[in-house]
């Protein structure tokens, strides 16, 4: 099946974590997608919207629509930015915006639900902790939520289970927020940092080598805390692990 995929790379990944974007591109190409990266893309507008300024996101919206109209699928290595587009993208061209809202996928849900990936050539011989980013989990339903009385499932875990030699640890609190929260991380710095420290401590208690997840924003926050504590534990976006070889 030929499908044209538009790669949406959130602004902070483009600027600070290009390796995550490269891994995502390689992963999508490896599983047979024809991927294009529209060159005039910027930001989904979430930083303004979550701060109460959704009324200032019209420019970002129109830019997003002009970059991504016409693709069969739009895929992004971020649950949070994907959720924002899915819920809040509108535009001068509302028909195109509506189309985009229904065609955008976070990377792991695209791999499991659309491509139905059942094998992967990846090896990662380490103990790994999975951070369930809230917007991906509770917003996009990438995994079952601990608050509900409902059968368990997890799209990221389904993919990590395909990676050779990877040992996934169980956390004490399997889906507590890390405290990043967009501008919350600076406006509510005390609580944000404390939440991050507590989340990281849960992973460290279980002896992880790496913390992974579907959102680089959460990982960036936890990385900042790990580095401040001079920890050897590193963060890796799930795309980096799904493309890892020894």
């Amino acid at each position: 099946m030929y499908m044209k995929v538009g790669l949406f790379i959130p602004c902070y990944i483009d600027q600070f974590y290009p390796k995550v974007a490269i891994a995502t591109l390689k992963l999508l190409e490896k599983v047979g997608c024809d991927v294009a990266y529209p060159l005039q893309q910027t930001c989904c507008g979430q930083p303004m919207a979550n701060s109460g300024y959704e009324h200032l996101t019209g420019g970002c919206n129109d830019n997003f629509v002009s970059n991504f109209a016409g693709y069969d699928y739009i895929v992004s290595p971020s649950g949070s930015c994907t959720l924002h587009i899915k819920h809040h993208l509108h535009g001068t061209n509302e028909t195109a915006a509506t189309e985009i809202r229904s065609r955008i996928y976070e990377l792991t849900e695209f791999l499991t639900d659309v491509l139905k990936i059942s094998t992967l050539e990846a090896t990662f011989p380490y103990r790994v902790g999975l951070h369930q980013s809230c917007h991906g989990q509770r917003g996009l339903h990438l995994a079952q939520m601990s608050e509900l009385v409902a059968p368990p499932y997890s799209k990221p875990v389904q993919l990590l289970n395909l990676v050779k030699d990877l040992e996934l640890i169980q956390l004490d609190r399997r889906d507590e927020c890390c405290g990043f929260g967009g501008t919350f991380c600076v406006t509510e710095e005390a609580v944000s940092a404390k939440m991050g420290k507590d989340r990281v401590a849960d992973h460290l208690r279980h002896g992880v080598h790496y913390i992974t997840g579907v959102d680089v924003s959460c990982l960036m926050h936890m990385e900042g805390i790990l580095k401040r504590a001079n920890s050897n534990v590193q963060v890796k976006h799930i795309a980096e692990i799904l493309t890892a070889t020894v």
């Binding site: 790379i9 303004m48 300024y53 608050e147 609580v191």
Partner: protein, 458 residues
């Protein structure tokens, strides 16, 4: 420092100065959350129960007028006197008047968050009426002249040692005592005297039933009964949203309430009051205090479905690490943050921002209020109505200008990375809140776009 005079972020800074205490507070409330999880997991029909409760409450919100009128008619027929209060001031005046008519100067009160919302204790104290809160947690915070920090567990911010100290001061218990049995017994003896000598008792209302004109009060300590049965005058205060259509609906709500609140299958006492006993007066005060306004806001009306279980507080990772007082409002936590702006936008403009929008609150809510979506919507309303600081509006406008222009965005990105790489001191300093407890990300030489153009776009 008194957290109540600060906005949420600054109150949270104060709270976080004692990290072991934050850990203790977090773990205590997380324990309640896990108890709730175990309790609800025993009901395979849990999610259907939530849905049923949500639909019943939606029906209530759409038929509020008729249900209240039906309730009033039936309550009157039962011999209950019904009073209507537009706001907190009216509520307080009605109750003051009833106490005076009873010739009393003292009143015993069992848990009612509505009276906190209306600041009844302050009002009555100023008018020479002594109020004794009879629930243990409420009594403790009352002695300390603090408001409750949690709507179900009012003294959850205090340790056994704190309580021991307070009781030593007010009840004359041994100094340094921390044994819960000993302290509870001291409170029991003190309150027993109160119950026996008060002529007027006030209780809250958990559910008022339109078809019967009766109401139900859920407690664990039985103090509502102790107060109401011994007093000549029983006053019950309720926000008008406490109405439910039929008695059979209690079968849904009573199963949800205690499991969500504390992980108990049901509260120890579910006391049904329908009519005064011979010789007793029974009054019910039905309060609006902004509820009609909230009912008229399409995006926020369903916050009135709340049954005050506090599950959203126990699960909230921010609440657990900032404490109830940081919300400077009678109802703290996520639900408080969507109720409080309706009461006063200016005073409570910070609260909808005291959240990461993680969504756990909406998932535990037994009546399925979309709490985190309403937090997002309140943020929009508050900033559009001008309750944000000017500096924030200016920086958001600048940010939008940069992010909507591919050219400016790329230039800003390049400059930003350059600054971080070659002059990190400009951001790695005490003026950068990120850097206070976290390292900055390591900036790469090229953006993904640069890499893509160099490597892929041939």
């Amino acid at each position: 420092m008194n957290q109540l005079n600060l906005d949420h972020a600054h109150a949270a800074i104060e709270f976080n100065k004692n990290e072991p205490r934050v850990d203790w507070h977090d773990e205590t409330l997380w324990f309640v959350r896990t108890k709730r999880d175990r309790a609800v997991a025993q009901l395979p029909e849990w999610e259907q129960l939530r849905e049923a409760a949500s639909q019943i409450k939606n029906h209530v919100l759409s038929n509020m007028h008729d249900l209240l009128a039906q309730f009033e008619e039936n309550a009157k027929r039962n011999g209950i006197t019904v009073h209507w209060a537009t706001d907190g001031a009216e509520h307080n005046a009605i109750i003051h008047d009833l106490i005076q008519k009873a010739g009393a100067t003292r009143m015993v009160k069992s848990k009612s968050m509505l009276t906190e919302e209306c600041h009844l204790n302050d009002y009555l104290t100023r008018h020479g009426i002594e109020v004794i809160d009879s629930d243990l947690g409420e009594r403790i915070v009352q002695m300390r002249k603090e408001p409750p920090s949690h709507i179900v567990l009012p003294a959850i911010h205090l340790t056994k040692a704190d309580v021991g100290e307070t009781f030593h001061e007010h009840l004359g218990t041994e100094k340094g005592a921390t044994d819960p049995q000993y302290l509870t017994e001291a409170a029991r003896q003190h309150l027993r005297e109160t119950f026996l000598t008060r002529k007027v008792a006030l209780t809250g209302v958990n559910f008022a039933i339109a078809e019967t004109g009766g109401f139900v009060v859920c407690t664990n300590e039985g103090n509502a009964d102790m107060g109401a049965h011994l007093a000549d005058v029983h006053i019950a205060a309720m926000g008008f949203e406490k109405i439910i259509p039929r008695a059979e609906h209690l079968g849904v709500f009573l199963r949800l309430l205690a499991r969500s609140a504390t992980g108990q299958p049901i509260t120890t006492f579910s006391s049904h009051f329908h009519r005064p006993r011979p010789g007793q007066e029974m009054h019910i005060v039905i309060v609006d205090n902004g509820r009609s306004r909230q009912l008229g806001r399409p995006d926020f009306r369903n916050s009135l479905k709340c049954i005050r279980c506090a599950a959203c507080m126990n699960t909230c990772p921010v609440y657990r690490r900032s404490g109830g007082h940081s919300y400077h409002s009678a109802v703290a936590g996520p639900i408080g943050s969507i109720l409080a702006p309706n009461l006063d936008m200016k005073l409570n403009a910070d609260l909808p921002f005291a959240s990461t929008l993680c969504g756990s609150c909406s998932n535990v809510c037994p009546v399925k209020i979309d709490i985190h979506d309403q937090l997002y919507k309140w943020r929009q309303v508050l900033m559009q109505e001008g309750y944000g600081p000017t500096s924030k509006t200016v920086s958001m406008k600048a940010m939008a200008t940069v992010l909507e222009s591919p050219r400016l965005y790329r230039m800003a990105g390049k400059v930003g990375r350059g600054v971080l790489r070659f002059a990190p001191v400009t951001v790695e300093n005490r003026f950068n809140p990120w850097y206070n407890q976290r390292e900055m990300p390591e900036p790469p030489a090229e953006s993904f776009r640069d890499w893509y153009i160099n490597n892929k776009k041939a």
